[in-house]
């Protein structure tokens, strides 16, 4: 019976009942008596000097409570950056100030200049139109290479230039890599762009700041993936509110994809204004605002070189990447192109020498930060594209070239400072060949040709580092936070269990899968376990959900706390059964004295803990509640092999995805249905990046794709039914569940498969001069590439 709901069961997602019947409680559903509304007046120029902001007429408009500008935030902290990078020369990165409201200059379209608080949102918007701005427009810095050229206009006047850092990894390998490339039998070079993306979760960001005069308590309701992180950053660095006077609640959150990790100015503003005004202040982003204020993703320009010896063994990789930071450093921005990207450059291959250079650049664009996969999709894309190109140049089978260079022995220490604990890359490739039906491809290609279409097959592998992350390691790498996770397991008197976790679910299904773990450990039904998350007032300090870390790190914390529960419950049971503790066994929710038929039920033990009439009070405390913090020993390394089949319409350049197969190794799996769903969503996002999504600025820093009219999100008919498989399982060796995490894999593994397939299709049609097409491979780009 418990097996139906324990580890390995595809239990349906219990949270979906409330989401699908309209009774979820999202941040915009939070309405506080007497709340006012804020509208942000945002810059419509990319770069300008603020000469004057005249709010006098606007202040007198109907319903206006107060208008705030940058001047109101002098003496208040700026938005902090959570990660410091040390550059190639041992110097810290350049770190600009990031005021809550613009001070002195505006630095991107969407930069907030003034915040109008009024009785209604429409009154706030009316007043915003009456604010007189005198902004002297300055030349916009948009192109990254131009931004770091001598004499470029500076985004931040007080910094030396627009270069945030010039990072080399591993710097000591630099010369050896140069030498290996010079001496190589063959070098394949590829220049490519990893396109800028807008995350666009279905629910836009919302913040409601509240202040209670009675106890001097501030509360922020916000669309966050990590409420404790927001409380720490905003309380300690921006507003100076101690944590015991600040509560952050992230209720139901409608998708995050990374963009809701970060601490945003609007959150600090609403909390600050509520204290000033002694009333709640609410902000709900419009979709248009989201395009110009949510942190964007990716935006790398890269040159990669792959060196091979005469037997086609990889001997060295050298990369040079320009990574766009945008106008300010978002919370984890500096870590994405460095530690989350450089450390993955080995991929699935035993390349002995690797050197990664990254120049992070300030531009007059929206800040860029982690987006599903964060750094790892960028690493995977360039590596899997260059390997594909090498296979083509050398005339060898792309699968064979990969297999020949696979890492086969574990643990494996890469030349880029990480140690893969387990994996079996041949196994996932074998599985892929089966589920993707490589054998039938030629027949499908012929059938496409009959219809005048070019068919291509693209494959790739990926490895990712997730289960983020060992705190002492990331501390050495510049993180200004720990990356453990926490759980409190509260067993109630009648046996039901409430688990308070520091992880946060915003689509991942924790409320379903986490109880499966506890149920399995205790031998009870998962319906007896409830998950509480998202409120700093009732969950232990935790770091939240991103980096495919929740089950690997948060789940491990929950396992540790449950183990403590089992230990204590056995003590109680041994007392009740008058047997030695060592003889007590827990099975199917019953405590039994080994080798006898003497037993006591789970509910009797829990009741005894809270009604301790017959209880060993001299030895143990009453109650049954335990907390554990878990800090992982290493990252986890999910891996896999993906295949995409596309058809290209040679007359128009339009690409359609006909088949997509994914063979992943996620280690052990708690809920296979949820895992498949995560892969499905990730692939849709990857296909979106590869074919559709294009966040583009013009040379003046105006956002060209500022709405869904121009920014194409993947829709249901843009993707096929997928073949996904996660039966290849090499369990993680260092966490108690043997799990690796699956949240980002789809988005990491799919873009190179799509582009590899497009190139393959074009070559099959005789367009053999096409070496690469930048993402998104829109019809116009593909068609242009086909024309010589």
């Amino acid at each position: 019976m418990p097996k139906d709901t324990g580890i390995g069961a595809s239990t349906k997602r219990r949270e979906d009942v409330r989401f699908l019947t309209g009774v979820g409680n999202y941040t915009d559903d939070v309405n506080i008596y007497g709340q006012a509304y804020v509208h942000f007046l945002r810059s419509d120029v990319a770069h300008g000097r603020i000469k004057n902001i005249d709010t006098s007429a606007a202040s007198g408009m109907p319903g206006v409570v107060r208008i705030f500008t940058g001047a109101d935030f002098e003496g208040v902290g700026g938005i902090p950056c959570g990660w410091q990078i040390t550059d190639r020369h041992g110097n810290p990165m350049q770190e600009p100030a990031h005021p809550v409201l613009a001070q002195g200059k505006v630095r991107h379209v969407g930069d907030p200049i003034a915040a109008i608080v009024a009785e209604t949102l429409e009154e706030a918007r009316d007043a915003a139109e009456a604010i007189e701005l005198d902004i002297e427009e300055l030349p916009a810095v948009v192109d990254m290479k131009a931004a770091v050229a001598d004499g470029a206009t500076k985004v931040h006047d007080d910094l030396e230039n627009n270069l945030c850092y010039d990072w080399g990894f591993v710097e000591e390998n630099r010369e050896a890599v140069d030498k290996a490339i010079k001496e190589a039998a063959h070098v394949t070079t590829l220049e490519l762009v990893n396109n800028r993306l807008v995350a666009n979760p279905m629910e836009p960001r919302v913040a409601v700041g509240d202040y209670n005069r009675a106890d001097d308590m501030s509360t922020l309701y916000t669309t966050s993936q990590n409420p404790h992180v927001i409380r720490l950053l905003m309380g300690a660095f921006v507003l100076g509110i101690p944590e015991h006077k600040l509560r952050v609640v992230a209720p139901d959150v409608g998708g995050g994809f990374g963009t809701k990790i970060f601490h945003y100015a609007e959150e600090a503003f609403c909390t600050f204004a509520a204290r000033q005004l002694k009333r709640a202040v609410k902000w709900t982003s419009s979709r248009s605002e989201a395009f110009m204020s949510d942190a964007h993703g990716r935006d790398h320009v890269t040159k990669i070189e792959l060196a091979l010896d005469k037997d086609n063994n990889f001997t060295a990789i050298r990369t040079e990447t320009y990574a766009n930071m945008g106008a300010y450093l978002s919370t984890f921005a500096p870590s994405v192109p460095t530690w989350l990207h450089g450390t993955l450059m080995a991929g699935n291959y035993k390349t002995p020498l690797i050197y990664v250079n990254v120049k992070a650049v300030f531009t007059n664009t929206v800040p860029v930060d982690a987006y599903r996969g964060a750094g790892r999709p960028e690493a995977t894309f360039q590596l899997e594209r260059v390997v594909d190109k090498a296979a083509r140049e050398l005339g060898v089978d792309p699968v064979a070239l990969r297999r020949q260079n696979f890492i086969t022995e574990f643990p494996y220490s890469t030349p880029v400072a990480v140690e893969y604990d387990t994996g079996d890359y041949d196994a996932t490739m074998d599985k892929l060949q089966e589920i993707a039906d490589f054998a039938g491809f030629e027949a499908r290609r012929k059938e496409s040709e009959k219809r005048g279409k070019l068919r291509g097959l693209g494959i790739n592998c990926y490895i990712e580092a997730c289960g983020i992350a060992p705190s002492n390691l990331v501390g050495q790498l510049g993180a200004r936070a720990g990356l453990y996770e926490s759980a409190t397991v509260r067993v109630n008197a009648t046996g039901g269990i409430t688990v308070m976790t520091g992880s946060h679910s915003h689509g991942q299904g924790h409320e379903t899968s986490f109880p499966q773990v506890v149920a399995e450990m205790l031998g009870i039904d998962a319906s007896m376990v409830e998950i509480v998350h998202g409120d700093t007032a009732n969950t232990p300090m935790g770091m939240g959900t991103y980096g495919s870390r929740s089950i690997a790190v948060g789940g491990s914390a929950m396992v540790r706390a449950t183990e403590k529960i089992i230990n204590k419950a056995k003590k109680i049971a041994s007392h009740l059964l008058e047997a030695s503790e060592a003889d007590i066994e827990l099975k199917d929710g019953q405590f039994t004295v080994a080798g006898t038929d003497k037993s006591v039920a789970w509910g009797d033990v829990t009741l005894a803990a809270y009604v301790p009439h017959n209880y060993p009070l001299e030895d143990i405390e009453p109650g049954l509640e335990e907390t554990a913090f878990y800090d992982p020993a290493n990252f986890t390394y999910p891996s896999g092999a993906y295949a995409c089949e596309v058809e290209v319409d040679p007359e128009t350049g339009k690409v359609t995805v006909e088949r997509f197969a994914a063979a992943d190794d996620f280690g052990n799996i708690i809920n296979p249905m949820i895992v498949s769903g995560q892969v499905h969503g990730g692939i849709a996002q990857g296909v979106g990046q590869a074919l559709l999504e294009n966040c583009a600025y013009d040379e003046n820093g105006q956002l060209l794709s500022a709405s869904y009219m121009d920014y194409a999100m993947p829709r249901a008919d843009d993707v096929p039914f997928y073949q996904v498989d996660h039966s290849c399982q090499t369990p993680c060796t260092h966490n108690p569940l043997g799990v690796k995490g699956c949240g980002e894999a789809g988005a990491i593994g799919s873009p190179p498969a799509v582009i590899n397939a497009v190139i393959d299709a074009l070559h099959s049609g005789g367009h053999t001069h096409v070496e690469h097409i930048n993402m998104p491979a829109t019809p116009a780009r593909v068609w242009a590439a086909m024309q010589k």
Binding site: E122, T652, N694, S705, Y708, D710, T778, P779, A780
Partner: protein, 264 residues
């Protein structure tokens, strides 16, 4: 949006009267106008809803063999009710936006707005339709006057559109990937006395007739007739994030061929 008054007259006369006030504007399905208002890009003081006027809704065949469609008829209704007589038009309507858009948006609203990427302008110009208003009848060739510009005057309401029913017709829409409006849309209509070809989505001047294709097809109604033509001049075509003018010009040719091949 800014505040406005809303009236919902039940006759054309009442509507015209209500539109006589300064800054009054018709509201049909609202699929274009409401988003504009939400972004505060328009500030009418009064909106005159046309949805209560029964006289401007519906599809019927006239005695002289034309298809008459009321200006307030939704795309969804056109998709259903024009199918038997004029499948080329019905299929065009069936591929506008999504079901919600089709159930609200109207042919009159689309033609009044004359978005350079909208579908209906291609059908109206490609058939030589007549746009009937409360004041007059306007030939399609005179009606479209460039991007978002039409022959309509203030307070003039499109009450009906009359389409000469072609022997064969087809509309090919090559979608812009984000909006799924026409990056290029081509409407081809074959009549006893000749062929008309109208192109939307492509030109900086809005919908236009591709006369070379018309004459080539009038003497030989086949996809091969297009093969020998060079694509129309791309230099005055829309060039944006989604494609250059030359790309659009190329797609015009491809879509024209496909429309001819698919015409029924």
């Amino acid at each position: 949006m800014y505040n406005f008054d809303l009236v919902r007259p039940t006759s054309i006369d009442e509507a015209v009267k209500a539109l006589g006030e300064e800054d009054a504007q018709p509201l049909a399905g609202g699929q274009t106008l409401i988003p504009t208002l939400k972004q505060r890009l328009a500030m009418p003081t009064k909106l005159v809803s046309l949805t209560g006027i029964a006289d401007i809704k519906g599809v019927c065949k006239t005695d002289d063999g034309q298809l008459a469609i009321g200006g307030g008829t939704t795309h969804g209704t056109v998709a259903k009710e024009a199918m038997a007589d004029f499948p080329g038009l019905a299929n065009l309507a069936a591929n506008v936006g999504d079901p919600a858009v089709r159930n609200r948006g109207t042919i009159g609203g689309s033609l009044a707005n004359n978005d350079p990427s909208a579908c209906y302008p291609a059908a109206a110009l490609g058939t030589g339709a007549t746009i009937k208003t409360n004041k007059r009848e306007i030939a399609a060739d005179d009606y479209f006057q460039g991007m978002f510009a039409t022959a309509l005057e203030e307070a003039e309401i499109i009450t009906e559109v009359r389409f000469p029913i072609p022997e064969k017709s087809n509309y090919q829409k090559f979608e812009q990937q984000a909006s799924r409006f026409a990056l290029v849309g081509v409407f081809v209509a074959k009549y006893a006395d000749g062929v008309r070809v109208a192109v939307t989505g492509a030109s900086n001047e809005g919908v236009f007739r591709w006369s070379e294709a018309e004459s080539a097809l009038s003497s030989n109604f086949s996809a091969e007739a297009i093969d020998s033509l060079s694509a129309p001049d791309g230099s005055n075509m829309i060039s944006d994030l989604h494609g250059s003018g030359d790309y659009r010009a190329h797609i015009v040719k491809v879509m024209t061929k496909r429309a001819v091949a698919a015409a029924s």
